[in-house]
Symmetry: C2
Subunit: 537 residues, 2 copies
């Protein structure tokens, strides 16, 4: 292996030039950094900048029989970051393939490479004053759009179910073939990025959460800008009260009144957006004592749960949606609606109140509101990564959120992402299943449940831990494993997993995974691309 690797590194240096082949421990270290308890370092890192270079790398990896682990920007926070599922893999870092190949204002789409970040595409649209918004996640400005899409991530806009807004992938297969999905493989195809399915088997889904190929570009649909965006914030006082709110909002999500992904966060999820663990108030460490938690809730003005969603449309459409929301949950939650007008009033009031406590609090709320509205309109913001730093010693790094990078900054964080039917009782049941595990692990439970489509809630349960504290790290790992197993056993399957959990998805006699592995053998008999990735056997 070592000899083969040396020979391969030599060949790759000839191919890419020495600067784009990393192999020294100091160069590899950043790639091994992970918010997970156990990082997995790569053998080397290769940095192609074009589709043809990727083809050449794949062919050459085949000759040397060395597996490649492709990543876009490697910022898969909370789900393994840049780490391959197993050691012995060479990272193909596609961050340098960052061209925006096309933007069509009329038909509202872009064609992008894997290295294109949220900030880059948002900037591109803004600089050219194009009348388009992109869907945006809270993962920060420097994260890859393609990487998130291929992990089937969710954003915050009406296009938040991102997989439904992709058409036409270009893929390098393990044998070096270039595959174009949709209509793209037909000459002169005019709808290559407008109609996903093409004719014949629709293959795109195969290349998400998988290891069947390396996607080098894809068509990503953009939203025409709305005349108006209004951000709803609903505050629910008591923990169990969220169930009725979920049930009351479900019909509005189902009938298209609420077209964007609705987020439901518990108090800790909201609090952790504005502070790190307050050791001065809780010297014994986590979990945050109930009394402190209650007093922080009162201070920030939130209840046990906060529901947040954006309304898009012409003013008359937005007003009608607001009325429907008020009718549905006005009696169950405290409702506020933010828009440009309310923010301007808030900002003016904050200026009047000056630098006193009230003025500062209002000013902070206006800032947060602006970040939310920006994200709704496709402008990413690093502040939504704040929660990852909850247990980091030293708290937020200087300059936060600029350049926020939880893995590099040594944050300890793992995510569990069960999917559940969109029913209030199911939310409470899932919460009830994991809460005792967090309590016995002496960990704070941050929870969000998002209406990721019209019929399900996508839970994200965050475990934050102090990585410098070996005991806390061990408790976090144990809590993660116990919660993962308990949720899976109860039928709450995750929508996405970190590499170290992939093997837990297969009970050993599941024909789904058997089928996946037969497809893998057909497309990549040598096991060259990302072995182990969503491939338990």
């Amino acid at each position: 292996m070592a000899a083969a690797l040396d020979a391969a590194l030599g060949a790759w240096r000839l191919l890419l030039g020495p600067a784009r082949v990393l192999s020294s421990p100091s160069e590899l270290m950043p790639f091994a950094a992970s918010t997970a308890a156990r990082p997995v370092p790569p053998l080397a890192v290769l940095r192609p900048v074009s589709h043809d270079e990727v083809v050449a790398l794949v062919r050459s990896a085949g000759e040397f029989d060395i597996p490649l682990y492709p990543l876009s920007t490697g910022r898969n926070w909370g789900y393994g970051d840049a780490c391959p599922p197993t050691s012995g893999q060479v990272i193909v870092d596609l961050g340098g393939m960052n061209r925006i190949l096309q933007v069509d204002s009329e038909l509202a789409y872009a064609v992008i490479e894997p290295g294109v970040t949220q900030a880059q595409l948002a900037g591109h649209l803004a600089e050219r004053a194009l009348p388009l918004w992109m869907d945006c996640t809270g993962a920060g400005p420097d994260t890859s759009l393609v990487g998130n899409i291929l992990e089937r991530g969710f954003g915050h806009s009406p296009y938040g179910n991102r997989m439904l807004h992709v058409a036409g992938m270009r893929i390098v297969l393990a044998n070096g073939d270039t595959l174009e999905t949709g209509f793209g493989h037909f000459a002169h195809a005019s709808a290559a990025h407008l109609y996903p399915y093409g004719v014949g088997p629709w293959l795109d889904g195969l290349f998400t959460q998988s290891n069947f190929g390396i996607v080098t570009s894809l068509g990503f649909w953009l939203m025409p800008q709305s005349k108006m965006v209004s951000h709803m914030i609903a505050s629910v006082a008591e923990p169990a009260g969220i169930a009725r709110v979920v049930d009351a909002l479900r019909p509005l999500r189902l009938d298209g009144t609420l077209r964007s992904v609705v987020h439901i966060g518990n108090d800790l999820r909201v609090l952790s957006g504005g502070m790190v663990f307050p050791s001065h108030l809780a010297p014994a460490g986590p979990p945050l004592p109930a009394q402190v938690r209650a007093s922080l809730r009162a201070q920030v003005g939130i209840g046990a749960w906060t529901v947040s969603a954006a309304l898009y449309g012409r003013p008359a459409q937005v007003r009608e949606a607001r009325r429907a929301i008020v009718r549905a949950v006005g009696g169950l939650a405290r409702l506020r609606f933010l828009d440009e007008r309310t923010l301007a009033i808030g900002a003016a009031a904050a200026r009047l109140l000056g630098r006193g406590a009230l003025g500062r609090r209002l000013s902070a709320q206006v800032d947060l509101g602006r970040s939310l509205l920006n994200m709704n309109r496709g402008v990413p913001d690093g502040r939504f990564l704040a929660g990852a730093y909850w247990r980091r010693r030293g708290g937020w790094p200087a300059g936060f959120p600029a350049g926020a990078n939880p893995a590099r900054d040594g944050c300890g964080m793992m995510w569990l992402a069960p999917v559940l039917p969109m029913r209030g009782e199911e939310l409470l049941r899932v919460y009830g299943l994991v809460e005792p595990l967090f309590a016995s692990g002496r960990l704070d439970l941050f929870a969000t449940f998002s209406m990721i489509n019209e019929r399900t809630l996508g839970g994200v349960l965050t475990i934050c831990f102090d990585k410098e504290d070996a005991a806390e790290t061990a408790r976090a790992q144990a809590c993660y494993e116990a919660a993962f197993a308990r949720l899976l056993g109860a039928g709450y399957v995750p929508y996405r997993v970190a590499p170290h959990s992939m093997s837990a998805l297969d009970n050993g006699h599941d024909s789904y995974w058997r089928t996946v592995s037969r497809i893998k053998s057909a497309l990549d008999p040598q096991g060259l691309i990302a072995p182990g990735r969503y491939m338990p056997r």
Copy 2:
């Protein structure tokens, strides 16, 4: 082969009982009936009624090495009907697997088997007064929902892009394995039919327009009933005028104001819904002379193009959508909106006018309006099959549209279905590409262009011909082939094809089809399931 078939038939008779194994020419004849020029008869027909029987049949077909061609109800009108792509296949008719396995009113979905028809599910919902509507196509009451979904068909409602409203398939693979997609293969999975992707590669797309397995059930999402439905009808006087209407409606389709599939039909498409070819007015046969065509247009009160779309929502939402439509195309087309109220007024007026010409015309319009609104609300209607009978000798059969079956009734019809970017100029270009071919073939060109998603038009160009006229049949076939080639050459790839055109999709060095065939080899090395189906090589 004959000996193997005899042995297999014997085994299948033991397995299913003799009544569910058809092999005599008279029994097979209905399956060979096709609206296409060249029907392809099966070797035999098997009628399993359960998933387990399908598993047993697949295993036994493997032993006898006889290929199976699964179909749901075999009513794939215009795209090959029940015919396999090649002779020598045994049809597995899943029409007897027609159970509605589950309906959930709260989360709005059904789980259905392949034999469930549009009328059956619509009736099920109506009988139980469930507050749900199903998406409906114009293919008539007796057609299969699953069959249409697996061909990636489109209906008329906000759920018209059917592929996006399916979650959790159960599939029999060629080796007899049962595969459940989405979360369905996990024990106790509560979101099996609520969240399509599952975890790991999303495989559903593989089983559409393909031959990788036999789908025996799937989860099909239903719409919560809207408070109001309004049907827009826009009439465009001049042929070229449709381009500006497409461009003016595009922003409303893109921004979600128009959530349902918008249909755009030319005059012949609309006229053929109410009459067959008027030989008394055009004794020389097709194409319909321009003057006759113009006079029929005037008589029915339509222009060169008719745009039709349904608006759904609460009354305030529907009113706002109407206002936006009027603003966008009020100056470009004559607009009407149908809803329950306007239909009631029309019906009353028709009664007052009595049995005179005006009264009969208004009454017919009210009937058509009711059929349209019914279809918008998921109640299928056979009248939308009328066009298939345009050139049938004897016209509509007695009792039409009850039991309409264009293949059995000897209609000659073929469909071309190019996808184009949603731009007016592209519509005119596609029309211009095929019009001369229809003219030189002396055939009427029925055209619809539907806004099947937010960015494309799905064209359906219908060739109707008199099957009893050999020369007209030959001209129809030649026109079909020339138009298919011309559209494909210009980059207007079809979204769906008839079996006899599948081989034309591959230029012989296309890595997409190479990949498809590698997957086929992995899942079905023996080539047991539907050889040739969306598998050009």
